[in-house]
Protein backbone atom coordinates (compact mmCIF):
# COMPACT_ATOMS: atom_id res chain seq x y z
CA UNK A 1 0.00 0.00 0.00
CA UNK A 2 2.92 2.35 0.43
CA UNK A 3 2.79 2.30 -3.32
CA UNK A 4 0.02 4.88 -3.08
CA UNK A 5 1.49 8.34 -2.74
CA UNK A 6 -1.64 10.41 -2.71
CA UNK A 7 -5.08 9.19 -1.90
CA UNK A 8 -8.33 11.06 -1.71
CA UNK A 9 -11.34 9.35 -0.21
CA UNK A 10 -14.98 10.34 -0.52
CA UNK A 11 -14.31 13.95 -1.43
CA UNK A 12 -17.36 16.18 -1.61
CA UNK A 13 -17.31 19.85 -2.52
CA UNK A 14 -20.41 21.97 -2.71
CA UNK A 15 -20.70 25.56 -3.88
CA UNK A 16 -24.05 26.69 -2.63
CA UNK A 17 -26.44 24.46 -4.53
CA UNK A 18 -23.87 23.08 -6.93
CA UNK A 19 -22.08 19.86 -6.09
CA UNK A 20 -18.85 20.20 -8.02
CA UNK A 21 -17.25 17.10 -6.54
CA UNK A 22 -19.42 14.23 -5.48
CA UNK A 23 -17.87 11.49 -3.38
CA UNK A 24 -14.72 11.14 -5.43
CA UNK A 25 -12.07 8.64 -4.50
CA UNK A 26 -8.73 8.77 -6.27
CA UNK A 27 -5.42 7.01 -5.67
CA UNK A 28 -2.17 8.11 -7.22
CA UNK A 29 0.63 5.55 -7.36
CA UNK A 30 4.25 6.36 -6.89
CA UNK A 31 5.79 7.20 -10.23
CA UNK A 32 2.41 7.16 -11.96
CA UNK A 33 1.65 9.10 -15.14
CA UNK A 34 -2.00 9.47 -14.39
CA UNK A 35 -4.49 11.41 -16.50
CA UNK A 36 -7.73 12.93 -15.26
CA UNK A 37 -10.25 13.60 -18.00
CA UNK A 38 -13.87 14.52 -18.23
CA UNK A 39 -16.26 16.99 -19.82
CA UNK A 40 -16.09 20.68 -19.13
CA UNK A 41 -17.27 21.49 -15.68
CA UNK A 42 -16.87 17.90 -14.52
CA UNK A 43 -14.94 19.05 -11.49
CA UNK A 44 -11.37 18.32 -12.48
CA UNK A 45 -9.96 21.69 -11.51
CA UNK A 46 -12.03 21.63 -8.35
CA UNK A 47 -10.46 18.30 -7.46
CA UNK A 48 -6.99 19.76 -7.88
CA UNK A 49 -8.00 22.72 -5.75
CA UNK A 50 -9.10 20.33 -3.05
CA UNK A 51 -5.94 18.29 -3.20
CA UNK A 52 -3.71 21.34 -2.99
CA UNK A 53 -5.73 23.04 -0.30
CA UNK A 54 -6.99 26.03 -2.26
CA UNK A 55 -10.44 24.72 -1.32
CA UNK A 56 -11.38 22.78 1.75
CA UNK A 57 -13.66 19.81 1.08
CA UNK A 58 -17.16 19.68 2.50
CA UNK A 59 -16.53 16.01 3.24
CA UNK A 60 -13.79 13.49 2.71
CA UNK A 61 -10.14 12.86 3.48
CA UNK A 62 -6.86 13.44 1.69
CA UNK A 63 -3.76 11.45 2.58
CA UNK A 64 -0.28 12.24 1.27
CA UNK A 65 2.49 9.74 1.92
CA UNK A 66 0.48 8.16 4.70
CA UNK A 67 -0.30 11.42 6.43
CA UNK A 68 -3.70 13.08 6.64
CA UNK A 69 -3.38 16.50 5.00
CA UNK A 70 -7.07 17.37 4.68
CA UNK A 71 -6.64 20.39 6.91
CA UNK A 72 -3.07 21.26 6.15
CA UNK A 73 -2.34 24.77 4.88
CA UNK A 74 -1.60 24.95 1.14
CA UNK A 75 2.00 26.04 1.50
CA UNK A 76 2.78 23.13 3.79
CA UNK A 77 1.54 20.69 1.20
CA UNK A 78 4.00 22.24 -1.21
CA UNK A 79 6.74 21.76 1.32
CA UNK A 80 5.78 18.08 1.36
CA UNK A 81 6.34 17.85 -2.36
CA UNK A 82 2.87 18.37 -3.82
CA UNK A 83 3.00 21.02 -6.52
CA UNK A 84 0.54 22.17 -9.16
CA UNK A 85 0.14 24.32 -12.22
CA UNK A 86 -2.90 26.44 -12.91
CA UNK A 87 -5.34 26.22 -15.76
CA UNK A 88 -5.25 29.99 -16.02
CA UNK A 89 -1.72 31.38 -15.65
CA UNK A 90 -0.89 32.60 -12.18
CA UNK A 91 2.34 34.50 -12.46
CA UNK A 92 4.21 37.25 -10.67
CA UNK A 93 3.62 39.95 -13.21
CA UNK A 94 6.00 42.59 -11.95
CA UNK A 95 8.98 40.27 -11.70
CA UNK A 96 11.12 38.92 -14.47
CA UNK A 97 11.22 35.19 -15.25
CA UNK A 98 14.72 35.13 -13.81
CA UNK A 99 13.63 36.64 -10.51
CA UNK A 100 10.59 34.44 -10.40
CA UNK A 101 12.56 31.26 -10.79
CA UNK A 102 15.33 32.39 -8.48
CA UNK A 103 12.70 33.08 -5.86
CA UNK A 104 11.02 29.73 -6.28
CA UNK A 105 14.31 27.87 -6.18
CA UNK A 106 15.38 29.82 -3.07
CA UNK A 107 12.14 29.00 -1.36
CA UNK A 108 12.73 25.33 -2.04
CA UNK A 109 16.32 25.21 -1.06
CA UNK A 110 15.28 26.48 2.34
CA UNK A 111 16.54 30.05 2.09
CA UNK A 112 13.16 31.64 1.35
CA UNK A 113 13.05 33.33 4.72
CA UNK A 114 16.62 34.53 4.60
CA UNK A 115 16.67 38.29 4.80
CA UNK A 116 20.23 39.44 5.14
CA UNK A 117 21.69 38.18 1.88
CA UNK A 118 20.51 39.24 -1.57
CA UNK A 119 18.44 37.00 -3.79
CA UNK A 120 20.80 35.00 -5.97
CA UNK A 121 23.75 35.22 -3.63
CA UNK A 122 23.74 31.45 -3.56
CA UNK A 123 25.42 30.07 -6.68
CA UNK A 124 23.37 26.93 -6.56
CA UNK A 125 20.15 28.91 -6.72
CA UNK A 126 21.30 31.04 -9.63
CA UNK A 127 22.51 28.00 -11.51
CA UNK A 128 19.32 26.06 -11.07
CA UNK A 129 17.23 29.06 -12.15
CA UNK A 130 19.40 29.49 -15.23
CA UNK A 131 19.06 25.82 -16.04
CA UNK A 132 15.28 26.06 -15.92
CA UNK A 133 15.28 29.18 -18.08
CA UNK A 134 17.29 27.44 -20.75
CA UNK A 135 15.23 24.29 -20.54
CA UNK A 136 11.98 26.18 -21.07
CA UNK A 137 13.40 28.51 -23.72
CA UNK A 138 12.93 31.53 -21.51
CA UNK A 139 16.57 32.60 -21.45
CA UNK A 140 16.10 35.27 -24.10
CA UNK A 141 13.25 36.90 -22.19
CA UNK A 142 14.76 36.32 -18.76
CA UNK A 143 15.08 40.05 -18.09
CA UNK A 144 11.68 41.18 -19.34
CA UNK A 145 8.83 41.83 -16.99
CA UNK A 146 6.54 38.84 -16.98
CA UNK A 147 3.52 40.99 -17.69
CA UNK A 148 4.85 41.83 -21.16
CA UNK A 149 5.52 38.28 -22.32
CA UNK A 150 3.57 36.62 -25.12
CA UNK A 151 1.02 34.08 -24.01
CA UNK A 152 3.06 31.06 -25.01
CA UNK A 153 6.06 32.20 -22.99
CA UNK A 154 3.90 32.88 -19.99
CA UNK A 155 2.56 29.38 -20.24
CA UNK A 156 6.06 27.97 -20.27
CA UNK A 157 6.96 29.99 -17.22
CA UNK A 158 3.88 28.68 -15.46
CA UNK A 159 5.17 25.15 -15.87
CA UNK A 160 8.77 26.04 -15.15
CA UNK A 161 7.68 27.43 -11.79
CA UNK A 162 6.07 24.16 -10.86
CA UNK A 163 9.15 22.18 -11.79
CA UNK A 164 11.34 24.60 -9.86
CA UNK A 165 9.51 23.46 -6.77
CA UNK A 166 11.13 20.00 -7.07
CA UNK A 167 7.79 18.21 -6.92
CA UNK A 168 7.31 14.67 -5.66
CA UNK A 169 3.69 14.81 -6.74
CA UNK A 170 2.92 17.06 -9.68
CA UNK A 171 -0.62 18.11 -10.58
CA UNK A 172 -0.93 19.63 -14.04
CA UNK A 173 -4.13 21.45 -15.01
CA UNK A 174 -4.23 21.69 -18.81
CA UNK A 175 -0.56 22.56 -18.97
CA UNK A 176 -0.26 22.88 -22.73
CA UNK A 177 -3.34 24.99 -23.45
CA UNK A 178 -2.16 27.82 -25.66
CA UNK A 179 1.12 26.14 -26.49
CA UNK A 180 1.50 25.61 -30.25
CA UNK A 181 1.06 22.15 -31.61
CA UNK A 182 4.70 21.56 -32.35
CA UNK A 183 5.89 22.29 -28.87
CA UNK A 184 3.29 20.42 -26.90
CA UNK A 185 4.85 17.01 -27.19
CA UNK A 186 8.19 18.36 -26.25
CA UNK A 187 6.78 19.98 -23.18
CA UNK A 188 5.06 16.87 -22.03
CA UNK A 189 8.20 14.91 -22.71
CA UNK A 190 9.98 17.15 -20.25
CA UNK A 191 7.35 16.24 -17.73
CA UNK A 192 7.43 12.56 -18.59
CA UNK A 193 11.18 12.62 -18.16
CA UNK A 194 10.91 13.56 -14.50
CA UNK A 195 12.48 10.97 -12.18
CA UNK A 196 10.59 7.72 -12.08
CA UNK A 197 9.47 8.15 -8.50
CA UNK A 198 7.75 11.46 -9.16
CA UNK A 199 4.02 10.99 -9.58
CA UNK A 200 2.14 13.11 -12.10
CA UNK A 201 -1.57 13.80 -12.39
CA UNK A 202 -2.47 15.43 -15.70
CA UNK A 203 -5.66 17.15 -16.76
CA UNK A 204 -5.82 17.71 -20.49
CA UNK A 205 -8.35 17.81 -23.28
CA UNK A 206 -5.88 17.07 -26.10
CA UNK A 207 -6.43 13.34 -26.45
CA UNK A 208 -3.36 12.69 -28.59
CA UNK A 209 -1.21 13.94 -25.79
CA UNK A 210 -3.16 12.27 -23.05
CA UNK A 211 -2.99 8.85 -24.62
CA UNK A 212 0.66 9.09 -25.40
CA UNK A 213 1.44 10.25 -21.88
CA UNK A 214 -0.75 8.36 -19.47
CA UNK A 215 -0.36 4.89 -18.09
CA UNK A 216 -3.56 5.20 -16.15
CA UNK A 217 -6.71 7.29 -16.53
CA UNK A 218 -9.62 8.45 -14.44
CA UNK A 219 -12.80 9.83 -15.95
CA UNK A 220 -14.85 12.35 -14.04
CA UNK A 221 -18.36 13.33 -15.06
CA UNK A 222 -20.58 15.82 -13.30
CA UNK A 223 -18.48 15.66 -10.20
CA UNK A 224 -18.70 11.89 -9.97
CA UNK A 225 -16.14 9.25 -10.80
CA UNK A 226 -17.28 7.50 -13.96
CA UNK A 227 -14.52 4.98 -14.42
CA UNK A 228 -10.83 4.35 -14.01
CA UNK A 229 -8.48 2.13 -15.94
CA UNK A 230 -5.58 1.84 -18.35
CA UNK A 231 -5.66 3.95 -21.54
CA UNK A 232 -6.85 1.18 -23.83
CA UNK A 233 -9.83 0.30 -21.69
CA UNK A 234 -10.82 3.93 -21.42
CA UNK A 235 -10.42 4.63 -25.13
CA UNK A 236 -12.83 1.85 -25.92
CA UNK A 237 -15.30 2.45 -23.14
CA UNK A 238 -18.60 3.33 -24.82
CA UNK A 239 -19.75 5.42 -21.86
CA UNK A 240 -16.62 7.53 -22.02
CA UNK A 241 -17.07 7.93 -25.75
CA UNK A 242 -20.60 9.05 -25.28
CA UNK A 243 -20.01 11.71 -22.65
CA UNK A 244 -16.52 12.83 -23.46
CA UNK A 245 -14.52 11.52 -26.36
CA UNK A 246 -17.23 11.67 -28.99
CA UNK A 247 -17.15 9.52 -32.06
CA UNK A 248 -15.93 11.77 -34.79
CA UNK A 249 -12.43 12.29 -35.97
CA UNK A 250 -12.02 15.87 -35.03
CA UNK A 251 -8.80 14.91 -33.36
CA UNK A 252 -6.92 12.45 -35.42
Amino acid sequence: MSDIVLSATGLVMRFGGITATNNVTLNLRRGARHALIGPNGAGKTTLINLLTGVLTPTEGRIVLEGEDITWLAPHRRVARGMVRTFQINQLFDSMTPLETLALVVSQHSGVGAQWWRPLGSSTAVAERAGQLLEQFRLADVAWQQTRHLAYGKRRLLEIAIALACEPRVLLLDEPVAGVPAGEREELLETVAALPADVSVLLIEHDMDLVFSFADRMTVLVNGTLLTEGDPDTIANDPKVKEVYLGHGAAHV
Binding site: F15, I18, G38, P39, N40, G41, A42, G43, K44, T45, T46, Q87, I88, A150, Y151, G152, K153, E174, A177, G178, V179, P180, A181, G182, E183, H205, M207, V243, Y244, L245, G246, G248, A250, H251, V252
Partner: protein, 234 residues
Protein backbone atom coordinates in the same frame (compact mmCIF):
# COMPACT_ATOMS: atom_id res chain seq x y z
CA UNK B 1 -20.64 35.63 -53.22
CA UNK B 2 -19.56 39.18 -52.54
CA UNK B 3 -16.60 40.41 -50.57
CA UNK B 4 -17.14 41.11 -46.89
CA UNK B 5 -13.77 41.99 -45.44
CA UNK B 6 -10.69 43.54 -47.01
CA UNK B 7 -7.52 44.34 -45.15
CA UNK B 8 -4.80 46.32 -46.89
CA UNK B 9 -1.31 47.35 -45.84
CA UNK B 10 -2.23 46.93 -42.23
CA UNK B 11 0.37 47.63 -39.59
CA UNK B 12 -0.48 47.60 -35.92
CA UNK B 13 0.93 46.85 -32.49
CA UNK B 14 1.00 47.82 -28.85
CA UNK B 15 2.11 51.25 -27.74
CA UNK B 16 5.17 52.14 -29.74
CA UNK B 17 5.91 48.56 -30.74
CA UNK B 18 4.71 47.49 -34.17
CA UNK B 19 3.85 43.81 -34.39
CA UNK B 20 2.02 43.52 -37.72
CA UNK B 21 3.61 44.79 -40.92
CA UNK B 22 1.83 45.35 -44.17
CA UNK B 23 -0.77 42.65 -43.73
CA UNK B 24 -3.35 42.21 -46.47
CA UNK B 25 -6.19 39.73 -46.94
CA UNK B 26 -9.76 39.47 -48.13
CA UNK B 27 -12.72 37.35 -47.15
CA UNK B 28 -16.11 36.75 -48.77
CA UNK B 29 -19.47 36.63 -47.08
CA UNK B 30 -20.17 33.40 -45.25
CA UNK B 31 -16.56 32.29 -45.74
CA UNK B 32 -14.36 30.85 -43.01
CA UNK B 33 -10.71 31.74 -42.79
CA UNK B 34 -8.15 29.76 -40.82
CA UNK B 35 -5.45 31.99 -39.39
CA UNK B 36 -2.34 29.99 -38.61
CA UNK B 37 1.16 30.69 -37.40
CA UNK B 38 3.68 29.88 -34.75
CA UNK B 39 3.62 31.31 -31.27
CA UNK B 40 3.94 35.04 -31.04
CA UNK B 41 3.66 35.75 -34.74
CA UNK B 42 0.82 38.19 -34.36
CA UNK B 43 -2.36 36.16 -34.87
CA UNK B 44 -3.97 37.54 -31.77
CA UNK B 45 -2.73 40.99 -32.65
CA UNK B 46 -4.49 40.79 -36.01
CA UNK B 47 -7.74 39.64 -34.42
CA UNK B 48 -7.51 42.35 -31.78
CA UNK B 49 -6.80 44.97 -34.41
CA UNK B 50 -10.02 44.04 -36.16
CA UNK B 51 -11.84 44.38 -32.86
CA UNK B 52 -10.16 47.73 -32.25
CA UNK B 53 -8.19 46.67 -29.21
CA UNK B 54 -4.68 47.45 -30.44
CA UNK B 55 -2.99 50.49 -31.80
CA UNK B 56 -3.24 50.67 -35.56
CA UNK B 57 -0.35 52.43 -37.27
CA UNK B 58 -1.42 52.29 -40.87
CA UNK B 59 -3.44 50.57 -43.58
CA UNK B 60 -7.14 50.08 -43.99
CA UNK B 61 -9.84 47.63 -43.00
CA UNK B 62 -13.15 47.57 -44.86
CA UNK B 63 -16.09 45.55 -43.64
CA UNK B 64 -19.07 45.34 -45.97
CA UNK B 65 -17.92 48.51 -47.72
CA UNK B 66 -17.53 50.56 -44.51
CA UNK B 67 -14.14 51.74 -43.27
CA UNK B 68 -13.83 49.79 -40.05
CA UNK B 69 -10.48 51.26 -39.05
CA UNK B 70 -12.08 54.64 -38.61
CA UNK B 71 -14.62 53.40 -36.09
CA UNK B 72 -13.98 53.41 -32.39
CA UNK B 73 -14.09 49.94 -30.84
CA UNK B 74 -17.61 50.04 -29.48
CA UNK B 75 -19.03 50.92 -32.89
CA UNK B 76 -17.34 47.98 -34.52
CA UNK B 77 -19.65 45.58 -32.76
CA UNK B 78 -22.55 47.45 -34.30
CA UNK B 79 -20.83 47.25 -37.67
CA UNK B 80 -20.86 43.46 -37.39
CA UNK B 81 -17.78 42.27 -35.54
CA UNK B 82 -18.17 39.49 -32.96
CA UNK B 83 -15.03 38.91 -30.94
CA UNK B 84 -13.90 35.94 -28.86
CA UNK B 85 -10.65 37.08 -27.21
CA UNK B 86 -7.87 34.58 -26.66
CA UNK B 87 -7.95 34.86 -22.89
CA UNK B 88 -11.77 34.73 -22.92
CA UNK B 89 -12.03 37.78 -20.68
CA UNK B 90 -15.33 36.85 -19.11
CA UNK B 91 -16.72 39.80 -17.15
CA UNK B 92 -15.99 38.58 -13.69
CA UNK B 93 -18.56 40.47 -11.70
CA UNK B 94 -21.44 39.55 -13.98
CA UNK B 95 -23.39 36.33 -13.93
CA UNK B 96 -23.40 34.07 -16.95
CA UNK B 97 -26.73 35.45 -18.00
CA UNK B 98 -25.68 39.05 -17.51
CA UNK B 99 -22.54 38.41 -19.53
CA UNK B 100 -24.82 37.63 -22.42
CA UNK B 101 -27.50 40.27 -21.90
CA UNK B 102 -25.05 43.08 -21.27
CA UNK B 103 -23.80 42.98 -24.83
CA UNK B 104 -26.78 41.45 -26.61
CA UNK B 105 -28.04 43.00 -29.87
CA UNK B 106 -31.31 42.15 -31.60
CA UNK B 107 -31.11 39.37 -34.15
CA UNK B 108 -31.27 35.66 -34.57
CA UNK B 109 -29.02 34.84 -31.68
CA UNK B 110 -30.24 35.46 -28.17
CA UNK B 111 -29.23 34.00 -24.81
CA UNK B 112 -31.86 31.31 -25.19
CA UNK B 113 -30.27 29.98 -28.35
CA UNK B 114 -26.85 30.08 -26.74
CA UNK B 115 -28.16 27.97 -23.90
CA UNK B 116 -29.52 25.48 -26.39
CA UNK B 117 -26.16 25.23 -28.02
CA UNK B 118 -24.31 24.93 -24.68
CA UNK B 119 -26.72 23.34 -22.19
CA UNK B 120 -23.93 23.47 -19.61
CA UNK B 121 -24.22 27.26 -19.52
CA UNK B 122 -27.95 27.11 -18.91
CA UNK B 123 -27.26 25.19 -15.71
CA UNK B 124 -24.80 27.84 -14.59
CA UNK B 125 -26.92 30.85 -15.58
CA UNK B 126 -26.76 32.53 -12.18
CA UNK B 127 -23.08 31.91 -11.44
CA UNK B 128 -20.55 34.69 -11.62
CA UNK B 129 -18.19 34.58 -14.56
CA UNK B 130 -15.20 33.66 -12.44
CA UNK B 131 -16.98 30.69 -10.91
CA UNK B 132 -17.07 28.83 -14.19
CA UNK B 133 -14.71 26.07 -15.19
CA UNK B 134 -12.20 26.87 -17.91
CA UNK B 135 -14.22 25.19 -20.60
CA UNK B 136 -17.44 26.80 -19.49
CA UNK B 137 -15.79 30.19 -19.76
CA UNK B 138 -14.76 29.35 -23.30
CA UNK B 139 -18.34 28.44 -24.18
CA UNK B 140 -19.56 31.65 -22.66
CA UNK B 141 -17.05 33.67 -24.64
CA UNK B 142 -18.30 32.12 -27.85
CA UNK B 143 -21.91 32.62 -26.83
CA UNK B 144 -21.23 36.20 -25.93
CA UNK B 145 -19.87 36.88 -29.38
CA UNK B 146 -22.85 35.21 -31.01
CA UNK B 147 -25.50 37.30 -29.22
CA UNK B 148 -23.88 40.34 -30.82
CA UNK B 149 -25.36 38.91 -34.02
CA UNK B 150 -22.25 39.71 -36.02
CA UNK B 151 -21.56 39.30 -39.69
CA UNK B 152 -17.96 38.44 -38.99
CA UNK B 153 -17.01 36.21 -36.10
CA UNK B 154 -13.45 36.48 -34.75
CA UNK B 155 -12.50 33.33 -32.88
CA UNK B 156 -9.11 33.36 -31.17
CA UNK B 157 -8.31 29.76 -30.27
CA UNK B 158 -11.92 28.90 -29.48
CA UNK B 159 -11.30 25.19 -29.05
CA UNK B 160 -8.68 25.54 -26.37
CA UNK B 161 -9.73 23.82 -23.17
CA UNK B 162 -12.88 22.24 -24.56
CA UNK B 163 -13.65 18.57 -24.23
CA UNK B 164 -13.28 16.61 -27.47
CA UNK B 165 -16.98 16.04 -27.73
CA UNK B 166 -17.68 19.75 -27.40
CA UNK B 167 -14.93 20.55 -29.89
CA UNK B 168 -16.65 18.32 -32.39
CA UNK B 169 -19.96 19.96 -31.72
CA UNK B 170 -18.58 23.46 -31.89
CA UNK B 171 -16.81 22.82 -35.16
CA UNK B 172 -20.02 21.46 -36.58
CA UNK B 173 -21.91 24.43 -35.25
CA UNK B 174 -19.47 26.90 -36.79
CA UNK B 175 -19.75 25.12 -40.10
CA UNK B 176 -23.54 25.23 -39.84
CA UNK B 177 -23.71 28.85 -38.83
CA UNK B 178 -21.44 30.03 -41.58
CA UNK B 179 -23.25 27.99 -44.17
CA UNK B 180 -26.85 28.53 -43.10
CA UNK B 181 -26.74 32.00 -41.62
CA UNK B 182 -24.19 33.56 -43.90
CA UNK B 183 -21.81 34.46 -41.07
CA UNK B 184 -18.18 34.81 -41.95
CA UNK B 185 -15.52 33.73 -39.47
CA UNK B 186 -11.80 34.07 -38.84
CA UNK B 187 -10.49 31.29 -36.64
CA UNK B 188 -7.10 31.11 -34.99
CA UNK B 189 -6.09 27.60 -34.03
CA UNK B 190 -3.08 25.64 -32.91
CA UNK B 191 -4.34 22.44 -34.59
CA UNK B 192 -4.25 23.15 -38.31
CA UNK B 193 -5.88 19.89 -39.25
CA UNK B 194 -9.00 20.33 -37.23
CA UNK B 195 -9.61 23.80 -38.46
CA UNK B 196 -8.59 23.52 -42.08
CA UNK B 197 -11.24 20.86 -42.47
CA UNK B 198 -14.02 23.35 -41.89
CA UNK B 199 -12.40 26.43 -43.45
CA UNK B 200 -12.56 27.83 -46.93
CA UNK B 201 -9.44 29.94 -46.86
CA UNK B 202 -6.18 29.77 -44.95
CA UNK B 203 -3.58 32.41 -44.10
CA UNK B 204 -0.28 31.79 -42.37
CA UNK B 205 1.45 34.58 -40.47
CA UNK B 206 5.08 34.77 -39.55
CA UNK B 207 6.79 37.62 -37.78
CA UNK B 208 3.79 39.80 -38.30
CA UNK B 209 3.46 39.37 -42.07
CA UNK B 210 1.45 37.07 -44.30
CA UNK B 211 3.78 34.36 -45.57
CA UNK B 212 1.21 32.10 -47.16
CA UNK B 213 -2.38 32.48 -48.38
CA UNK B 214 -4.31 29.69 -50.02
CA UNK B 215 -7.51 27.72 -50.09
CA UNK B 216 -7.82 25.70 -46.96
CA UNK B 217 -8.28 22.45 -48.80
CA UNK B 218 -5.12 22.81 -50.82
CA UNK B 219 -3.06 23.75 -47.81
CA UNK B 220 -4.42 20.75 -45.99
CA UNK B 221 -3.28 18.60 -48.85
CA UNK B 222 0.32 19.81 -48.51
CA UNK B 223 1.65 18.59 -45.20
CA UNK B 224 5.20 19.52 -46.17
CA UNK B 225 4.21 23.16 -46.51
CA UNK B 226 2.53 23.05 -43.13
CA UNK B 227 5.64 21.46 -41.71
CA UNK B 228 7.80 24.22 -43.12
CA UNK B 229 5.52 27.07 -42.06
CA UNK B 230 4.33 25.85 -38.73
CA UNK B 231 6.73 23.15 -37.71
CA UNK B 232 3.93 20.57 -37.75
CA UNK B 233 3.10 18.20 -40.52
CA UNK B 234 0.33 16.11 -39.24
Amino acid sequence: MSELLRIENLSAGYGEAVVLHDVGLALGEGQTLALLGRNGTGKTTLINTLAGATRQHGGSITLGGAALHKLSPHLRAAAGIGWVPQERNIFKSLTVHENLTAVERPGRWNPQRVYEMFPRLAERKGNLGTQLSGGEQQMLAVGRALVLNPTLLLLDEPLEGLAPIIVEELLRAIRRITRDEGLAAIIVEQHPQAILAISDEAVVLDHGTVVHADHAASLQAQPEVLERLLGVGR
